[in-house]
Amino acid sequence: MSDDVAIVGIGMHEFGRHEGIEGIDQGVVAVRRALVDAGLQWNDIEFAFGGSQAAGSADTMVAKLGLTGLQFINVANGCATGGSALFSAYNSIKSGMFDVGMAVGFDKHERGAFRVDLKENGLEEWYGASGLALTTQFFGMKINRYMHDYDISETTLAAVANKASRNGAMNPMAWRRNELSIEDVSTSRMVSYPLTQYMFCSPAEGAVSLVLCRADRARELTETPVFLRAAVVRSRRFGSFEVMAPHLAVERGDGPTIDAAKAAFEMAGIGPDDIDLAQLQDTEVGAEIMHMAENGFCEHGDQEHMIARGETEIGGRFPVNTDGGCLANGEPVGASGLRQVYENVVQLRGDAGVRQVRGDPRVAYTHVYGSPGISGVTILSR
């Protein structure tokens, strides 16, 4: 594996709802915490990529962080905004252009389901007016078909939310920290059949910042550098089944997650069996289940017995969403993909406390997915 770029600082603003605190100010907090973690000052940062979906332009935070004249580029790429900022930062260092930089993502959404901006998603007014522009519908339809094709049970859906709640309860940065039983999940309000209220994550607030630097300088800054082995973003191809699609092709093709995973493994020179833990997009429970297979960690349908045997628990063979995922943290779109990377850095440093994955994990994986059919994957290792 190449080791060109290292993560030497991480910072997060707590996820959840924060009355009276602007999204961008949560971003500023995350940046300052990442700088402290890296032992750097803001004027050490040579460049930054950052973005939010609903909370303003990231580059305006220089007014509070200090006007140092750095190259600051705003990123807007839907649910892969954070992943795209990281991808861009990674390549800025890998290219030799810069030595030290930052990726930052933050957000603050209104309550309730995401209000879809039709124009931004390339959709016409009739689509929203007719009541079709809801991401929740896509997730309900995708897992409904998947359960039909691969015999996934409703109990397995509820088990994923139960695990997320238990992991979230151990995470001081998580929004939802109360444990939900399988019965709590199954009997909560039906939102988009077959998915109930507690099977979905909610739009939320929060921020994450990462300090990256040239790998050969990483040990000057930290004793525990984590190396970025792959960072990939892929969009949809013909035949894939994606969110916000007025029509689909009859023939099924690989989705962006399958493409991004393959490219990331190739870039890192390793395979799914080498991954010790993973953070997988869990907008709702079905997403986590389907993304286990789409990312290459099992065959379609194997999730049923893997989850029943507890293999994706923190103490299991292949821990998934150790920080509680989107289900426990909520989804501030701009920050969500970077939260996954943050958790993996915490785990690879061995700093995760009560939710630490045992066995001295060395390689960790993140996967973010979102509208309009975009996936971002990273692979990190010590």
Partner: protein, 150 residues
């Protein structure tokens, strides 16, 4: 009797009891798309022609919209007291494409993958002029051609 106004022009055509969706067919590779669009998502060809899509199809997957969507963009009834859940699904038409659509059924016990459906005109809301604005939906084959008015 108020007249029915389509939610937008060029989305569907035909008489109210036998409506059809309008789509695009790529003149190079024959790929079908909905709604009408320029450019082919399969072969990148730039030339398409407008075609009427089949009225009947089979349900490929589905869900139920159980709560009022946010308005805007939704134009239907969002009053929590009187909101009526509606089904949403992808319907395969003639082996050519899957179209996302409202469904006239909203009861999970009545919906199943593979069931036959046909397109109907679906009342959505009354506009400021008192006219009925309609969109499209798919429902069981042979069901009432006169759905209840919103």
């Amino acid at each position: 009797m108020p007249i029915d106004i389509p939610i937008t022009d060029g989305l569907f055509t035909g008489p109210p009891d036998a409506p059809r969706l309008l789509g695009s067919r790529c003149t190079a590779c024959g790929n079908h798309m909905f709604p009408v669009q320029d450019g082919c998502s399969r072969c990148s060809g730039a030339s398409t022609e407008t075609v009427e899509l089949g009225r009947r199809g089979t349900l490929w997957t589905w869900t139920v919209q159980s709560y009022p969507p946010k308005a805007p963009p939704f134009a239907g009834n969002v009053d929590p007291a009187t909101f009526e859940p509606y089904g949403v699904g992808y319907v395969e038409l003639d082996g050519k494409l899957l179209v996302e659509s409202r469904l006239t059924l909203a009861d999970p016990d009545q919906l199943h993958i593979g069931m036959e459906l046909e397109m109907v005109i679906d009342p959505l809301y009354i506009n400021d002029d008192g006219d009925q604005v309609v969109t499209f939906a798919f429902g069981p084959v042979g069901a009432s051609p006169e759905p209840s008015r919103a």
